[in-house]
Amino acid sequence: MDDLRELYQEVILDHNQNPQNFGQIEPATHSGDGYNPLCGDKLSLTLQVQDDKVTDLRFRGSGCAISKASASIMTTVVKGKKVVEVEALFGAFHSLVTTGDTDDGDLGKLAVMAGVYKYPARVKCATLAWHTLKNCLSKKDEVAKTE
């Protein structure tokens, strides 16, 4: 009966209750805001990037369980990764949540978000943090939106 367990996996609910890397880095080398126009939720990201590596990152903001968990998991996965690796991960993550494609072996912990693709209205929740991250890294100063 409970298809929704696929969307709201235990890991997701855990991250929602206890988000990792919640807060703000000061000073940050990169920062940026994301906005999901579908629901009005906002997310702020601050980063430390050194030698093309994301050494630290934190997020803040309001949002649903999916978006909070996605941001939280993202921070744990991205921390310590090279910027080029992050970009590759974004691609894999995007196809994961839009098509359910888990072929990319490097997804690791991100794979728990696989259930999202069955709920098109929630894809933007899952990608909000990632879009914001991408914008931060490309140093665009505008507010990221989930598309």
Partner: protein, 416 residues
């Protein structure tokens, strides 16, 4: 899920939900797992078979263009389309001094006024008076009109209980148009539009009532309301999507420039210049939404058959019970508490984002809305990015309310 029978179920409701739902095939079609608990009628209402049949009969029996056909099918179509206009007119108590213009929806109806009246009558220094609780569709068109004409926007504020504050001072000789929402799609507040219209008249302002949430739920009487314009949508009152109404004072509509131009709204056309058809056709450019207007006529017949007073009492009983139940839940915050209200309530559940709530309730067949309800300025003032909303209509009953509260409880369990 087993439904606990609440003692309050034995209270009687003016309408028998189960009997009414029989006319709405969707309730049969979507209830294989759980009873389909549709609590989102403020967004769009469900459609009775009577309306679907009226639409289908047009397509399958007398599908033809209107107004210029000299053959039987075309004459039937014209007759059905124009008689839908009469039905709508009667339904809202309009008389000979009013005209009914079919539009795509309330949004287009308001834009029609903001363009055809607003662009030609507003000047720098003029004031457009709205309220802080407008739906985007009665706010953004006026923002654009203000930008283009130099007029200024002013707003009647609302207080914490979701009612409008006293606003006499807002009406000045600069006020050229007053456009207000009748029943709030957020708080359910039934605003004192009679008073507002009187104040507007005392300063000579034109009046528009956004009746998208009131015509479907309240007995309306255009003659006693006596505003210049009334706008509403078919899809919120059991009618098809793709049709709405602007009811206006014929005299004023006659003075106005046309809005959309094209076939049907003209009298004579030469390459360089044209003259206009009579009101209301002057404002219906191109082939109209024939099947949809006919469907709206059938919706109005259905609603009249039941009686709008009864529908309002039914919803009043449902919302009263809902508020009792929600207020009994520690985790729930209800926003607004207007004394005069329709069957709409917004709330939040602590620790559950409204979008998650909506998603989780759907598991139990309960459909509510989550978001800003096309009223971001209200959310801003409430200091939330979104809320959950439950809204009722004639096909709902106490069981629906019970299923809502139980589903909230189980969502809380699920997510925390």
């Amino acid at each position: 899920m087993t439904v606990t029978l609440d003692p309050s179920n034995t209270r009687t409701l003016p309408l028998d939900g189960a009997y009414i739902r029989n006319n709405f095939p969707i309730f049969r079609n979507r209830s294989s797992k759980n009873p389909f608990t549709y609590l989102d009628s403020a967004a769009t209402s469900q459609t009775p078979q009577q309306v679907v049949d009226a639409v289908e009969t047009y397509y399958n029996h007398y599908n033809a263009n209107v107004h210029r056909s000299i053959y039987a099918a075309g004459e039937e179509a014209t007759e059905a389309y124009e008689s839908a206009r009469d039905k709508v007119s009667n339904f809202i108590g309009a008389d000979d001094s009013h005209a009914i213009v079919f539009t795509r929806g309330a949004t287009e109806a308001i834009n029609l006024v903001a363009y055809a009246w607003g662009r030609n009558n507003l000047r720098e220094g003029d004031e457009i008076l709205l309220t802080e609780m407008e739906h985007h569709s009665n706010l953004v068109p006026w923002q654009l009109a203000a930008r283009q004409t130099g007029a200024k926007l002013k707003f009647i504020p609302f207080s914490e209980d979701g009612t409008l504050e006293n606003s006499e001072a807002s009406f000045t000789e600069k006020t050229k148009i007053v456009s207000v929402i009748h029943q709030s799609n957020v708080f359910g507040t039934i605003n004192p539009v009679n008073e507002i219209i009187n104040l507007a008249k005392s300063v000579g302002a034109v009046t528009l009532i956004d009746a998208a949430q009131s015509v479907p739920h309240l007995h309306m009487d255009m003659t006693s309301l006596d505003c210049d314009f009334l706008a509403f949508s078919g899809h919120k009152m059991l009618g098809p999507t793709g049709v709405g109404v602007l009811c206006g004072r014929t005299e004023l509509l006659e003075q106005m420039e046309p809005f959309l131009a094209g076939g049907e709204m003209i009298r004579t056309v030469s390459l360089e210049t044209s003259t206009w058809n009579d009101v209301p056709w002057k404002f219906e450019a191109g082939t109209p939404n024939i099947a949809q207007a006919i469907g709206l006529g059938a919706a109005v017949d259905y609603l009249s058959g039941i009686g709008m007073e009864t529908i309002h009492r039914h919803e009043a009983a449902l919302i009263k019970y809902t508020l009792e139940r929600l207020e009994g839940m520690d985790e729930v915050t209800v926003y607004g508490n207007p004394p005069e209200r329709g069957g709409v309530v917004v709330f939040n559940v602590e620790g559950v984002h409204p979008h998650d709530l909506s998603q989780l309730l759907d598991r139990d067949g309960v459909a509510i809305r989550a978001g800003h309800h096309c009223a971001q300025p209200i959310m801003e003032k409430l200091g939330v990015s979104a809320t959950a909303r439950a809204s009722f209509y004639l096909y709902n009953d106490f069981e629906d309310v019970n299923r809502l509260t139980e589903a909230i409880t189980s969502s809380l369990k699920f997510i925390t």
